[in-house]
Structures are given as structure tokens and as C-alpha cells.
Amino acid sequence: MGAAFKETKLPADAPAGHKALAWVDDRFPLSKLWNDQWGKYYAPKNFNIWYLFGSLAMLILVLQIVTGIFLTMHYKPDAALAFNSVELTIMRDVPWGWLVRYMHSTGASAFFIVVYLHMTRGLLYGSYRKPRELIWVFGFAIFLCLMAEAFFGYLLPWGQMSYWGAQVIVNLFGAIPVIGPDLSLWIRGDYVVSDATLNRFFAFHVIALPLVLLGLVAAHLIALHEVGSNNPDGIEVKDHIGPDGHPLDAIPSHPYYTTKDLFGVSMFLLIFTAVIFYAPEMGGYFLEYNNFVPANSMQTPAHIAPTWYFTPFYSVLRATTADFMYVLMAAIALYVVFVWFKSRLSFKAKAAVAAIALVLIIGMLPQVLDAKFWGVVLFGSSVVIIGLLPWLDHSPVRSIRYRPNWHMWVYVLFGLSFVALGYLGTQLPTPAYTLISQVCTLLYFSFFLLMPWWSAAGRFKPVPTRVTFHPH
């Protein structure tokens, strides 16, 4: 137990604000929380533009919660009323309802843009490397949570895309052998996506997932402020502590990064409001045209595609055809040979890898489990594998700045295949597109699965002991 309670005594003529703060601080660690988490949180002084996206994600989270609360005041989670409550009541009847709705729908896309950029930053500067593995894992869980939030939320307007998108995704679970069909029935609560489904998705979207999301964001930030931020040079600023006990190359977040982040916020809001006012549908990418047609369980729209932020993973699902399974089986066999000869794993570990690969290859035979099941497995793996980065990267340096130049081209190739998958996912499937998405799927997975080798290969540049910083 701590020391006995002692009231802080301030001089009688101290400002009322100071006295009030002292009174609170004696009872609740308000100043301590502020100083630990932001005010006296020392961050490296060489942050560049990539470091704006964390605080922007936080801003969008707040925007989504606030606009979401106001939308629930007019929205009706009922299959018979939902479409009109959005398209008529909120968009036309409620004063300024259209603005709140567009802020929320544009906010969803903005959230993913900012989070994808935030993750790219982590990838480029090795922000997930020891001791920041848990920051990455919590962040990855936030990403999963956001995907679920977006998916559940997209059903709520009850348009054709809402309806059929939910139908497709819920049926993904139907591909699981034995329990699949019953599982998707359980998730829907009916034989098709219906009122029961809409109601439960509403509950997940407005309360269950936001609670989880807030908890994860807190964990992400607490972990970050515990170990300290990485920086574009990927070196530890805590290795050089100044006489004041703080790292020589770090500055307190307040006021320095407060002002920098506020500049980022103003730039962001400039673009964000321009989209809200002039292009809230963003040519059918942010709000798909088919969603202006009420849900109809009798007719699938001629072209259904998920919203843009899901399409890279969705393309992986579509790329998995029966023929492609043989390519995958060959790829797995090759990978085992590669692990066997090129890794320093123990014999036991190598044998385990070979055994798992054998089970996978047998499972991929058309007589055992069909391509549909493996499509779902690959779709899930393409997301989950991102969370394993801290253990896949074996590079001796963190930042791309001190990696061999050719590493940049590996990242470029990975980025291109991710973007190509994303584009193809928005398009109708044709044989040529399927082939390209299959190639991109292989490249995507190779980036991660071969990372233990390529990330450690090549001539690394000397890493500086102090951060690179040029005062303006």
C-alpha cells in the first residue's frame, strides 16, 4: 500500500484552476495520465509525414462515434423500414441529416485509407520489430475489428449491395466442412439474410464492436507509450539519454507533436470535407450505386463487389479456382523443400512443417475438400498473415533507409500486387483478370512467407547512432 493520504497545500493566493487540479490529482492521477500518455511523452524528433496517420485515425474514430450516435437517433433497424429511414428520413427529411450520413460513410473509407497508410509506415520503418510486437498485434486486432465494423455497418442501409454483400460473406462460413451450413444459418438467424440478420448486425455495429475497438485502441496506445515510438531511422532513441533523463533525440509530444498533428488534421479535414461536399459517392467506390436500390432477396444485382477496402482480400478468394489448387499444391511442396534446405530450424521443426504441408496438400486434392473451402482459407490467411510480421521479418536493421536498395523493389512489387488485387476485386471476373489475380495472390503470400530469407539478404548500410534530423 502507498503512503497515507495527504492533501496538497497550495498558497492561499494560487489560481483557482491550480487548486482544483491539485484537489483532483490527490484523488485521481489526472496530470500523471496526461503526462505519461501525451504531455511529457518523449517521442523521437525526426518524425516525418508518415507519423500523422496515427492521430488522424484517432480523430476519425471519434468522428465515426459521434456521427454514428446521431444517425442511430433516426435509423430504424427493421427490414421493412431501414432503407427508407436512411434514404428518405436521414438523407432528405432530417435537417442536415445528409451531412451527418455523408460524414459517417466518407469517414468509413477515410478510416481505411488512413489505417492502410499507418500500416505502410509500420512496414517501411520496421515499427513492429522487437520490443514493439504487441503494438503491432493490438493494431492488427484493431484492423480486424474495423473490417467487422465496416461489414456490419454496410448492411444497415439495406440496399442491394448491403444485402448481397452480407449474403456472400455470411456464406463464406458455409464453406467450412460439416458445421458450415448450420453455422451460417446461426449467424443469419434465418434461411436468408433477413430482418433477424439486420437487427443483430445493428447491435454489433453500434455497441459490441465499438466497445472492443475502444479497448483495443487503449491497449495499442498504452503499449506504445510503454516502449516508446520507433522513428524513420529505426534506431532506439532511448540509447542516448540526456542529463534531464530524457532521450537526447526526443521531444515532448506536447506542444511539439500537438502542433504538428493539428497541421495534419487541418490538411486532412480539407480533403475530407471536399469529398463530403463534392464526391461523397466517390464514383461508386465509397457508396456503391446498387445500394440506392432497396434490398431484394429475389434478384442479385448484375455486378456485386465489396467496398474498395475489402477488395484485395476478396480477390484472393475469387482467384482460388479448382485449377489454381494444383499451383498452390506445387507452391507448398516447393516451400517445404526451401525450408528444408535454406532454414536453420531444428530437424523437428522442419519435420513439422513438412507434415503440415502434406496434410494441406492432401486436403487440397479435389476429392477431399473443394476449391471453395480453400478460397475461404486463403481469404482468411491473407488477412491474418499481416499480424505475423514481427516474427517474419529477420532483417538486422528496422528501417528501409538502411536496407539494401533492392529491398525497396520487393516492397514496390508487394504494394503493386496488393493494389492490383484491390482493383481486380472491384471488376467483373474474366479469365485474364482471374489469371492476374492468381499471380498477384502468389506474390502477396510470397512476400510474407519468404520474408525470413529475403529480409536478411543483401548488404545492409551502416546504421547511425543518432537520428537523422535537419532543423528547418
Binding site: W164, Q167, V168, V170, N171, L172, G174, P181, L185, W186, I187, R188, G189, D190, Y191, V192, S194, A196, R200, S297, M298, Q299, T300, P301, A302, H303, I304, R318, T320, T321, A322, D323, D370, A371, K372, G375, L428, P429, T430, T434
Partner: protein, 204 residues
């Protein structure tokens, strides 16, 4: 002074028993919450059989009715359409519908026309793609057209992932959809009247 070793085994036993009992209550409550996700009694009741009059369906035309919230197609095929089905036997993944289906495949539909022998021109199928549940669109015209092979004899195309089906709703080989579309149990009450969701064996 240390209290490490002062464990009262009687109290420890009670503690374990209390935790176990609490755990049982917790699991049972979770079970109740999980069960609320199942289809409600009303949703189950809505799965009743549907009667359809098909006197207005001319040869080559299709009617869509709702059964269990899903579209059921009733297609009255022309002799040319039936001939195209036979031509496709070597091109489809499961010509005689021997795989395991979501709805038990009725024995009278296990043939190339996937229909009852006495009304083999009438195809009754759940118009839902076996891949991820989209409803394929009708592409009855023969010949080359966008998104379809050049030797197309008429059938269905799923807009979601490009699976193609013939006029017996059988999936072509090497498509995302693993199986033919489901055939619901159905029977004819008269020549132009049929009931979906029910046959001689009872309701689905």
C-alpha cells in the same frame, strides 16, 4: 512473517467448488445467449411449402417464386433446350448430381435433366449459386457473348464470381461454385400446379 504455507485445504476445496459452480452458471448463461442467434420460431414457420400455378409459363420461359426467402426458378424447357443439356454432359462437373447437396438431392432429380421423369421439361431449382449464395442471371441466348464461352448453349451466369450453369442448373467444370444448384423437394398436384418444399416423402 510469511503465510505461504498456511493453506487451509477445507477452505481451498470450498473455493474450488464455488468457482466450478460459478463456471457452470456462466457457461449455461453463455449457452442461452448463443441460442438466441438461432432462427426464431416465426422464421422456421415461414419455411412452409409453397403452391405454384405454372399454366402461364410458356416453353422457354421462367417463373420465380419465393420459398424460404430464396428464389425458386421454374423453367419450362423447349426440346432444343433439353437437347443442349445432353450436349453439356461431358462439360459439367457433376452430370448426375451425385455430390452432397445442401438440400438432400431428391432421387427423382438425379438425372441429366434434374427433373421428374413425367415432367422432364420443367426444371425446379433454388436459384442460388452454390458458391456464395448469389442468384445467377438467365443467359438463354446461344453463342458467344461477354463473360461466356464461345460455344455457349444457354444457361445461367453468376454475376458475383463468374460461375456458369447449364439449363439443368448444373455447374460447368473448373468454376468457383463447387456443386450444381439445389433442387428442392417438389411434386405435381396437377399438370400445371406444383408444390415446392414438399414431396411424397414429406416436407423438407
Amino acid at each position: 512473517m510469511s503465510n505461504e504455507k498456511q493453506v487451509d485445504s477445507g477452505r481451498r476445496g470450498l473455493l474450488v467448488a464455488t468457482c466450478a459452480a460459478g463456471g457452470v452458471v456462466g457457461v449455461a448463461t453463455a449457452g442461452a445467449l448463443v441460442s438466441t442467434f438461432q432462427p426464431s420460431e416465426r422464421a422456421k414457420a415461414a419455411g412452409a411449402p409453397v403452391e405454384v400455378d405454372i399454366s402461364d409459363v410458356k416453353p422457354g420461359e421462367m417463373k420465380v417464386v419465393e420459398w424460404r426467402g430464396k428464389p425458386v426458378w421454374i423453367l419450362r424447357r423447349t426440346p432444343e433446350m433439353l437437347a443442349s443439356v445432353t450436349k453439356n454432359n461431358s462439360l459439367v462437373a457433376d452430370p448426375n448430381s451425385d455430390k452432397v447437396y445442401q438440400l438432400d438431392m431428391p432421387a427423382y432429380a438425379k438425372n441429366e435433366f434434374r427433373a421428374r421423369a413425367e415432367h422432364k421439361e420443367v426444371l425446379v431449382t433454388v436459384g442460388i449459386c452454390s458458391h456464395l449464395g448469389c442468384s445467377p442471371s438467365s443467359r438463354f441466348a446461344e453463342g458467344a457473348q461477354p463473360n461466356l464461352p464461345d460455344d455457349w448453349h444457354g444457361g445461367f451466369l453468376c454475376p458475383c464470381h463468374g460461375s456458369t450453369f447449364d439449363l439443368s442448373a448444373r455447374v460447368f467444370k473448373n468454376k468457383p461454385a463447387p456443386a450444381n444448384m439445389d433442387i428442392p423437394p417438389y411434386m405435381f398436384l396437377s399438370d400445371n400446379k406444383l408444390v415446392i418444399g414438399k414431396d411424397e416423402k414429406g416436407e423438407a
